[in-house]
Amino acid sequence: MGQLLRDIFSFGDRPVIERVILVVFAAIVLAFPWLVESAYARAVMIKFLLFALFALGWNLIGGYGGQVDLGQAKNVGFGAYATALMIVHLKTPFWLTVPVGMFFATLESFAVAYPMFRLRRHYFAIATLCVALVWKELFIFWDWTGGARGVELPIKPTPNFTYMEFGAIGYHYFIFGLFMAQFLFMNWFTKSKLGYQLQAVRDNEDAAASLGINVTGTKVIAYCITAALGAMGGSFMSVYYLYIDPDLVMPLDLSILIAMTVMVGGAGSIWGPMIGAAALIPLDMYLGAWLAGGGYYGIDFIIYGFIIMIIAAYEPRGIWGLIQRMSKKG
């Protein structure tokens, strides 16, 4: 138990600095609602935390596993729909719907993983993208999912912990709690046996197999854990937006934005997802809104694309790689 706690709260290269950064980050986020009154800024903060959460989960298969999965939105959708449908039809408390969403995401991922991991690199990426699109179309087509109209959750008049509905400040702390839980889980995971084996598979599959690692098995497990982590964020989206439809929780854009967040921030590092979300989400919410307000729709996408091109050409390990490179020189 003591060892587990040490693993969760200890960091790699610069343990003291990284612990300080985490505490400062947590302090800023905790104080944020008391420092900033703008409702828009608070919404940006929640979206930042949500995407940092998504990115953390995707970093497992995409960063540590090196498998470019472009279908994470399907898992977000499973989580979101499990929560929404169970609350609407069965009046199940929110906290019981979360494991159900995670379970279905894991089950589906396990079922599709074996055939998918017969493919490699971009073929694998295309397969994940297709599977996610099929699910989105099915959720639009089916009646029991509400089809394209989506699902509306009942609005509670007062803050409610059973169904996790409250004001903006409540959601702020709620998503921060989920984020920290996943952050610390990932920090533990990277030091676990499976974490090392997954990185070995990413670096060299032949070498990994020669060391007794079941390469496909390791990828499948990582893919399933990633799915479960994505579903958790999806459940939050349901109670936060109080309305979901396939275009909101399962679109291709979402899958790509999640993957992009990790790549921009730094794939395969514990800080990458946070940095990526901090770089992309405010850019989208402020710059995008400002440009669209001036009638320049789509300019923000050009800026997005430009940033990604620069990162891909100059530092494939993302902003975190850039920071590490500079701190080594300095």
Partner: protein, 242 residues
């Protein structure tokens, strides 16, 4: 008998890379596998450790039929290997590379780390434990591969061209290291090599392959005088004119 290969055949399309190979290794031996380029040495290695499925024939290890087992099961069974073209894991540190090997036998990080450090000491890499492997010279990278394979606690260690790319001094050092780890870890060694200096010095017994077939076997001295071996390496005319 520790390892037995019985009438092993491996074909790629129409090309016969290994034709009817049989051999046996006893516990504690150091056996070298030599032959000119394209003789099928690496193919035979890959068939034994599960990277290729043999077309026909059998591979036995400690009495168990391991023919066609996937590579990770063969590794867990107790056969370690290094690669001709090095396959270091570049984003992990030296220590982590070796720890991944140690995780083959344990789930506990403290034990894996302790095992890794013992082995790094054995191959003289303690000082580089936290370095990035790609920043180290070739000789050190070869030692990482060796350490990583050792960390899986094999009983048979198969080394594919371990001395390739090393200078004579480095070769001498790695021979000493191999002797030391063989004694300390009670290993059986099976090596392929181009560097004759290296393999003649270390092997107790040599098996010679040419064009996919086993053509000779014996002590290094016997093999060096064998006409078929000289012919395979230097050509028929040289062998006749001698």
């Amino acid at each position: 008998m520790l390892l037995g290969v019985q009438s092993l055949v491996k074909e790629f399309g129409g090309l016969v890379a290994n034709a009817d190979i049989s051999l046996e290794l006893e516990h504690g031996e150091i056996v070298g596998l030599i032959g000119p380029n394209g003789a099928g040495k690496t193919t035979l290695f890959n068939c034994i450790v599960g990277y290729y499925k043999p077309t026909s024939g059998k591979v036995l290890f400690e009495g168990e039929d391991i023919t066609g087992w996937p590579a990770h099961r063969v590794a867990r069974m107790g056969i370690g290997r290094t690669f001709q073209s090095m396959k270091i894991m570049p984003l992990l540190t030296v220590e982590e590379n070796v720890m991944v090997g140690a995780y083959c036998r344990t789930g506990d990080r403290q034990i894996a780390r302790r095992d890794a450090h013992e082995i790094l000491e054995l191959v003289n890499l303690t000082g580089e434990a936290h370095a990035s492997p790609t920043e180290l010279p070739i000789a050190s990278q070869k030692r990482i591969e060796l350490a990583r394979a050792l960390a899986t606690k094999p009983r048979l260690l198969m080394l594919d061209e371990l001395a390739a790319g090393l200078n004579p001094l480095e070769t001498k050092e790695i021979v000493e290291t191999l002797h030391r780890i063989k004694e300390e870890r009670n290993l059986t060694l099976f090596l392929t090599e181009h560097v004759m200096e290296f393999i003649m010095r270390i092997s107790q017994r040599l098996i010679v392959m040419a064009a996919g077939r086993r053509i000779a076997e014996g002590t290094p001295d016997q093999v060096a005088k064998d006409d078929r071996v000289i012919e395979a390496y230097l050509g028929e005319r040289y062998a006749e004119g001698r």
